[in-house]
Symmetry: C2
Subunit: 251 residues, 2 copies
DNA sequence: TAATACCTTTATGTATACAGTATTGAATGG
DNA sequence: CCATTCAATACTGTATACATAAAGGTATTA
């Protein structure tokens, strides 16, 4: 029987994909663990066909790995993988910033980014170090990065960045969570916010190289802080994606 | 009935994916054209289930686009999309080259790349401008780029580059085809070969920035030549991926 | 003649049945 | 007690059947 429930307009396939992704990212499915189709059918409530589609999509997303003999397992990542993903993301966003700067952005199109910057400024100025404040910053920060990516007006690049962000630790949210996982979290946010300000200024003044460089530095800051956080075992609960690391923390 | 044919060890899904991809890249399926599942079942000879899996994978690959009302169509690209994809590829390969240089490559690991370089040198020295010679160069060139990517020893980056290469015009073969699609093709190959030589040297001497810069320049060369080839309408038959461009050639 | 409504047909999303293979467990032999 | 082999079970890959929605064509009316 097909979907008649008016509550949910999304397809069974999408529902299954969302449910399974949440299961993986929340850590309830451990890295290396095999995902049974039948089990997924039980947890998601849909039949095997949409479950299979969801599994294929999650594999392409990078969260699952195909087992040669058949089926899929939760992909495991090393610490190196995660740091590389962050740097990769920085390179891609650097290109997006450069494209935006080189190709020119109208004042009208730049407005949303500036407003996002202002809202982030306000959050940082509040000097709140609560988990809720960080959570708000994470959301706003992700929006800033998304807006910046859009300004590149390059469909292939936007697509690639979206794909690179499938791994949560490589997303802007991951950046901030890593940053917040430090006693000096607030100082880090101030520096990150400075990067944001510089990239907006560079885009406005059509300084492509500067825009690209600062986005790369932005990612390096996040990578460095994540490394420190992993070493110091501080606030790791803020980084749910850490569930994906193969061995608990060590290299 | 399951696959019993000993001739083919690949699954029905993979067979369907290969067949459909070939159909798209060869231009027999035009951009924007809707792909009927039933039609795909007839052309591929497998049932709807593996056809559907193949369609999902091709969508993730970037060759297909989901239709809101259901089903898939062949994705169409603008000339700008293609040029951006080439630059994007250059940025990614630049990062790979930098990783290889910064992290160090043993003489033993560098050997295959050097040999590939030598083989390419030989082909260029022959000064043959036949289609067969170009075809051989394309194959060797793709191998060189694949080896270079591997030397980064970064699983996330390698994965991303593989994904970015799904679009044939963004692949190393596409680079060379764009280069060869010019009257001055041989001169272009000489320059490209110089880039190859420099990147190997930079990796060997651990000059990360230099390695990255030359790979970016390498992609810019390809992009510039493709633009010229499109303007001059020269040797476009050497670029099969052009079938993916939305309007015949113009921007 | 054109527009609209209804019906027919087709195609997609979903569910399930079937075939074959891999994996696991137990039992037997060394 | 451990290893090896065989059998049973479970799971994946594939095929097909079913339900619903969309699209196209035809007929009827203005």
């Amino acid at each position: 029987m097909n979907e008649r429930d008016p509550d949910r307009a999304v397809s069974h396939t999408v529902r299954a994909q969302l449910a399974l992704r949440d299961l993986i990212l929340s850590g309830r499915l451990r890295p290396g663990e095999r995902i049974s189709e039948l089990g997924a059918v039980e947890t998601t409530g849909v039949s095997r066909t949409p479950v299979r589609m969801a599994l294929v999509r999650l594999e392409e997303e990078g969260l699952l790995e195909a087992i040669p003999s058949g089926g899929f397992m939760v992909k495991a990542f090393t610490e190196r993988d995660i740091l590389d993903s962050i740097e990769l993301r920085g390179v891609l966003e650097g290109l997006a910033a450069r494209f935006a700067a080189e190709r020119g952005v109208s004042a009208r199109d730049l407005e949303p980014l500036k407003q996002s910057l202002a809202e982030l400024d306000e959050l940082v100025a509040r000097d709140a170090v609560s988990v809720e404040a960080f959570s708000a910053y994470v959301t706003m920060n992700a929006r800033f990065h998304a807006l910046l990516t859009e300004l590149s007006r390059s469909a292939p690049l936007i697509r690639q960045i979206d794909r690179a962000s499938a791994l949560p630790f490589a997303s802007p949210s991951g950046f901030v969570m890593a940053q917040s996982a430090l006693p000096e979290a607030h100082q880090t946010l101030i520096i990150a916010q400075d990067h944001h300000r510089i990239v907006v200024d560079a885009i406005e003044n059509r300084e492509g190289a500067r825009a690209e460089a600062v986005m790369r530095e932005h990612a390096r800051l996040a990578a460095r802080n994540l490394r420190l956080a992993l070493r110091n075992r501080t606030h790791l609960d803020l980084l749910p994606a850490l569930a994906l690391i193969r061995s608990p923390v060590s290299e």
